[in-house]
Amino acid sequence: MTLADLDIGWGWTLAIKTVIVMGLIPAGALVLGYTFLLKMMSHMQSRLGPMDPGGFHGWFQLIGDGIKFMQKEDIIPAGADKRVFKMAPAVVVLSTFLMFVVLPGGPDFVVANLDVGVFYALAVSSLSVIGVLMAGWASSNKYALLGSLRAAAQLIAYELPLVLAVIGVVIQAGTMNLHGIVMQQADGEIFGWGGLGNPFILTQFVGFALFMVAAQAELSQPPFDMPVAESELVAGYMVEYTGFRFLFFFIGEFGTAFVYAGLAATLFLGGWSVPFIDADDDIMNFLGPGVLFVKIMLVAFLMFWARFTYPRLREDQLQALAWKWLIPISLVNILATGALKVAF
């Protein structure tokens, strides 16, 4: 059952899909932010985190923060390039929304089932670099400039391991279509036993590790958070942004984490499929999003766990890691995957 069956015309379909995407991004950002940033980080640091807002363990904290940001004064620095300054957060968040378009939540529960889904997702994810550069330059602030230049170098450098890691998955699945990749994992067999399907993390563990490291860098999270180094640049390229413009960046950051975790779950953990239920069943349109959500939380747990534990790499060490280690390892991974795919 897809929206096409409902026969409501392309205008309404488009409207419904837009609303879903635009609503799910902030919702995902909120859930991720609350669970991991507010609660998991706090407990890892021997404290409780917000407890009062909303009564039960402070669940209202982030929503309250959002309302607070909305009602703040809109301050733009005097020397800033106003048009570019205003557009920058939108560009950053734009790439998140566009990535979300191909993420499947069920056999038919996807906004657009593109044949080049993986290619499109990775291509569109690099749009955020432009937004970061715009933000840093338009802020007329030396700290912001430093931060955005670091960010540009870092984000471009880590695009390559990200893409190369995913190529291994594409070779193994034989398709770039995300729906196809999930079906391959759901219907696959481990040495002849089909009970659990064949999540690609088992064979593509190197690719998974590379993807996680590269995603961490793409999200500017520690250990790769030179662009927003808290103790040096105090939010780097975002330093002049306040109020709802900063809210955009915040939603962008956690929304993108949500989407990258979703991509990792889809490519490596089997997406919305569950072991013992037939993947093509209509019931998966309802169960699928929930299953995907659980997997997203698992992947996000790993991302945020590393975020709160490690210090940050210096800019040149970061670049050395990408160019001298991650890219060669990913190339070897592609070689091995290709060879094994032909052999078996």
Binding site: Y143, R150, S231, Y310, P311, R312
Partner: protein, 393 residues
């Protein structure tokens, strides 16, 4: 701009060919220098320190330290106050290790008076000094991790500091500013149960040091950020007046508790001075970690051997310190702190000169910061560990 090799007799004006720069392999890009103000308000400067750096891209070409934003006029304040009042004020010079600030001053007054504190008072003073050393260092272990980018160790640092601060509060009444030393001894004795509780706190501190070792010291990213960064050569450090753990991390085996004039109860203890040969930021972190453990062990020894007796010597009610001058310096957590007290026989000193460790420690910063990257500026400043109240007095 060089154009590489060119045929003999081929003289060329380089500016005509600037547009070919991309085709060249070895081209010096002429970028202008940027002056960045790590201003008085900045999360990485430990207070109101201003660092003006000239950057070439991300490299520091030159830097300058501007201090004085927190000058409170301590030496002038001491001219018009009595000894007990000054003891209260000097707690606030280095506010993290507040008890240790009082010790050299009271010692100076006691030397001028010819009074010696009874052994129990000396032991309790040593315990509280070592507790303040642990409090300062445990905070350093946490917040250097924060400056390098790991947000979690900072919270562990503050959590562990609470154990020590609660112990100091139970004994003296004040968490940060004990004001417990008096000429001739200490104010009063310890409350019932304090020794057992402090023993328990020391065990927690020792376990927490192991956590810091696993979380920070053993972390390859931390080591990459701090090894070979900000190396202080031993002779240069000594020439600049750098003292304390910074000098010991450059391999200099010098500790005023053991090598200076004997004070407090250090001679009765079995303890070790920790040094590290490298002199980089990692060495400074490592030395302070070991010294924290050593201080916890020293406190346990002191508590085991605490002598019984009075805590105050026989001193008159209104204390007038006889005429004279004396210089006393001690091994404070941040380095060497000293007081030169000039007394003219009144209830308060005539002049007090305060030598603080952080002023000398931060004076080496411009030399250290030549040619490092901007992130390394933060690492170096964090590893020197100065407190603005200590610099500016």
């Amino acid at each position: 701009m060089t154009l590489g090799t060119r045929p003999a007799g081929f003289d060329v004006d380089p500016s005509l060919y600037r547009h070919l720069a991309d085709a060249q392999v070895n081209v010096e890009l002429d970028t202008g220098d940027m002056i960045l103000n790590l201003g008085p308000q900045h999360p990485a400067t430990h207070g109101t320190l201003r660092l003006v750096v000239r950057l070439d891209g991300e490299r520091v070409v030159a830097s300058d330290v501007v201090i004085g934003y927190m000058h409170r006029g301590y030496e002038k304040l001491t001219e018009f106050r009595t000894y007990p009042q000054i003891t209260t004020l000097i707690n606030r010079i280095d506010w993290l290790s507040s008890f240790a600030n009082e010790v050299p001053f009271i010692h100076a007054a006691e030397q001028l008076m010819g009074v010696e504190a009874p052994p129990r008072a000396l032991y309790i003073r040593t315990v509280l000094t070592e507790l303040s050393r642990i409090a300062t260092f445990v905070l350093f272990l946490g917040e250097m991790g924060l400056q390098v980018g790991a947000i979690t160790p900072a919270f562990y640092g503050f959590r562990d500091r609470e154990y020590v601060l609660n112990a100091i509060e139970a004994a003296t009444g004040g968490r940060f500013h004990p004001n417990f030393n008096r000429i001739g001894g200490i104010l009063t004795d310890l409350p019932w149960g304090w020794i057992a509780e402090t023993r328990e706190s020391m065990r927690k501190i020792l376990k927490s040091c192991d956590d810091f070792e696993d979380l920070v010291v053993a972390n390859p990213i931390f080591q990459q950020r701090t090894r070979s960064i900000g190396i202080i050569p031993a002779e240069l450090g000594a020439a600049y007046g750098v003292s304390g753990s910074n000098l010991r991390a450059s391999g200099v085996d010098w500790d005023l508790r053991r090598d200076g004039k004997p004070y407090l109860a250090y001679n009765d203890l079995d303890w070790k001075v920790w040094t590290h040969p490298d002199g980089d930021s990692f060495a400074r972190y490592w030395v302070r970690l070991q010294e924290t453990r050593e201080s916890a062990r020293m406190v346990l020894q002191l508590l085991d051997n605490l002598p019984a007796g009075p805590v105050m010597a026989k001193v008159p009610r209104i204390i007038k310190v006889p005429e004279g001058e004396v210089w006393v310096n001690t091994e404070n957590p941040l380095g060497e702190m000293g007081y030169y007290v000039v007394s003219k026989g009144a209830t308060g000193p005539f002049r007090v000169k305060i030598r603080t460790a952080s002023l000398s420690n931060v004076s080496i910063a411009p030399w250290l910061l030549r040619g490092v990257y901007v992130p390394d500026v933060i690492t170096v400043l964090a590893s020197l560990y100065f407190i603005l109240g200590d610099i500016d007095k």
